[in-house]
Amino acid sequence: MSGSSVKFVPEPERYEFTAGPMHHFELARRDFFKFLGAGIAVFAVAKDTLASQETAPTQGFHQEELPKDITAWLHIGEDGNVTAFTGKVEIGQNIRTSLAQTVADELHVPFESVTMVTADTALTPFDFGTVGSRSMPTMSPQLRRAAAAARDLLVGAAAKEWNVAAEGLTTADGKVTDPATGRSIRYAELARGKTLAQNLPAEDPVTPPDQWTIAGKSIPKKDARAFVTGNHQYTPDLRRPGMLYGKVLRPPSFGATLNSYDAKAALAMSGVVIVRDGDFVGAAAGNERDAVKALESIHAEWKEVPQTSSKELFAYLKKNASAKSDERSRRVKGSVEDGLATAAHRLDATYTVAFIAHAPLEPRAAVAEWSDGKLTVWTGSQRPFAVRDELASVFHVSESDVRVIVPDTGAAYGGKHTGDAALEAARLARAAGRPVQVAWTREEEFTWAYFRPAGVMEIKSGIAADGALTAWEFHNYNSGMSAIDTPYVVPNQHIQFHSTQCPLRSGSYRGLAATANFFARESHMDDLAHAAQIDPLQFRLKNLSDTRLQAVFEAAAKSFGWPRKKTQDGQGFGIAGGHEKGGYVATCAEVSVDHASGAVRVVRMTTAFECGAIVNPDGLRHQVVGANIQALGGALFESIEFENGRITNPRFSRYRVPRFRDVPEIEAVLLDRKDLPSAGAGETPIMAVAPAIGNAIFQATGTRLRGLPMVPNGLNTARS
């Protein structure tokens, strides 16, 4: 109940977390050296519960006895180049750089000599997915242990060569040195002619953060040049020999089924492949336009089903809530009834969040190629192994016959956990007998991807005359359980998640439900502070015992200059914070409200963030500032509108995302705790923005906005 746990507990209601994959690692040890050349290889084995929760059991390397639960490995080649392997995916969070830093730091080699091979199901170990801010806390230590073990091996090899004890030898800059004689030998020479593979010992001491030399530094993005020259190939940029362009006939509404179908005209077109398989209809042609024309010539009649609309969304979620609740979704402590009875002030309020879209700038895409019954797919997904399994299952082939490769991807934000485009491309490619690319349009991305779930939060609370919380009852319908616990000290609590029927396909979004739960909780705390006539920061500190959370609140407030006095009409200041996934965050916001027009402008934000030891300060700043800017959209104006199973605003001209003019002055205050393990940073910095802005609007105007987005059409409409 403390809420300070960093255990990775997949949310029960997230559909993509329900599959329990069993995996086989397919690359034999001898194949491994054939692929990389001779050298020294070290395999990291998951040994803690954290890692094994996101790592399926590995069956071993064919007949050879090799460790289970391999999570990462690295190889030192005869040229001294280091290749490290991880199933993680680069989606703009800079993991390729941060992990390479970790390896270079521990192995004592130059950063430039490390290459990361990521997210290729034929080459990298099984990985649950690049989700939940887990890459740094789990993958980084695994690679560090592998690197430390490799360094030990190299030292051992040098000691043998020189016939001295290994203990006195040192390593730096890709060399082993004997301080007694001054001689040194390069790792490359030690690796030469060897095909040495070693499993990682159970315990390896690794370098503590205060002794890091390469990790902890702001090293620029790996391969950065390829991104400014346009040379990097994202999935839609891949061109395979003989490749066709595929398009899929979309139903007019969600859940519609194909009643009748006439493709005579399309089938008569030359160079076009048409596939109908159940309700799936697609075309592939030498160019996209011909594929579109072919689909347009198909007469299809669909049977549609009546569906709810966004206008009645929140009533729908409440009405369809499941009556049953299990232990996993309910926590009770003390008696809320008693806590409310003794309270000096009581407050009862309902909050809502809309469906929003991830809208990564690279829409879903895949290239699929069949050869001798084996399938290779390139696709931008956060879960390459899950996509592999989906493909194997859908096409009735063995997992070992499917290879999924994820090129560094044009972002995801939790929105690319599935393999939709991969399945479509593979189906068309199988029919065509040639490689096929399917690249979704923006409208397809806005319609057929999945959304951040909408939700309703209800809070009943009480405080004593001195402002101490006495009771806290919190219900969340549909959004989820992330950060559903309050970080504040409350003797009497009842916290519950309610699953319900969700009218749209929903899934993970950066931060999951924590944004919704933070918004409800921190808005409510602000109202309570007001009722108690205590400064909102002091009110929070008074009710906190968690020193890490106190520290970020104080750091944000100090840098922002809290409390601030209003110097002009329409000005307001707000603060909010909390913790999730091992990261602690507090955001202060300043808004300016034009009373006449109702226009709300966020002028300034200061976010303090602490996630243990910092690996790359510059990369972390990117994540914090980026999350703050992305958060503006969901806070102020993003909302998916729908009616009769159709998304009615599926384009950027009708779905407003933050643009340059919306971006305030943003300060990121990074607290580096070298005494604590590194947690992830991709998600938590997004969470406190919406309530901080809402609290600032309240201070500016006296209007409390309890629904996200808060001001899609300005404050005057939101009020009425």
Partner: protein
């Protein structure tokens, strides 16, 4: 077979065989393999497909290939000269002005076109110029820094 259309891209002549109404973006990417220019929305709202036509930034998803014939077109692939990055590319690299970097080509092309017209911009002029370019990762402050840096280095080099 569609009639051939001649295009002048990055100083070279190319012939494409496609329907004249095909968006320039599609011709660049699918006919000519110039995939540095990105598709982001297909309605001229996100700027990922920005190229220079006659030196001015244009949304290539909104321009039929026939309308781009006979005008010099510059794509992101054409900025680098003799192995040297364009000052705007260099500034983006130096400022680390990208995360997933899918918007970067369009941001760079919009900035190159903008700096030609306004070599000494203020921050608010940069904001105005890039308002039509979407970055979903939230790299905006660094992109503004990069454009300032580029303006400065172009001034120093007299380009």
């Amino acid at each position: 077979m569609a009639k051939p259309i001649e295009l002048e891209i990055n100083g070279k002549r190319h012939t494409v065989h496609c329907d004249p109404e095909t968006p320039l973006l599609t011709a660049l990417r699918d006919e000519l393999g110039l995939t540095g220019t990105k598709y982001g929305c297909g309605e001229g709202q996100c700027g990922a497909c920005t190229v220079l036509i006659g030196g001015a930034p244009r949304r290539s998803c909104q321009i039929p290939v026939s309308a781009a014939a006979s005008k010099p077109i510059t794509t992101v692939e054409g900025l680098e000269q003799d192995g040297h990055l364009h000052p705007v590319q260099q500034a983006f690299l130096d400022a680390g002005a990208f995360q997933c970097a899918y918007c970067t080509s369009g941001m760079i092309m919009s900035s190159v076109g903008f700096l030609k017209a306004n070599p000494h911009p203020t921050s608010s002029e940069i904001v105005q110029a890039l308002q039509g370019n979407i970055c979903r990762c939230g790299t905006h402050p660094r992109i503004i820094d990069a454009v300032h840096q580029a303006a400065k280095s172009m001034q120093e080099r007299g380009r």
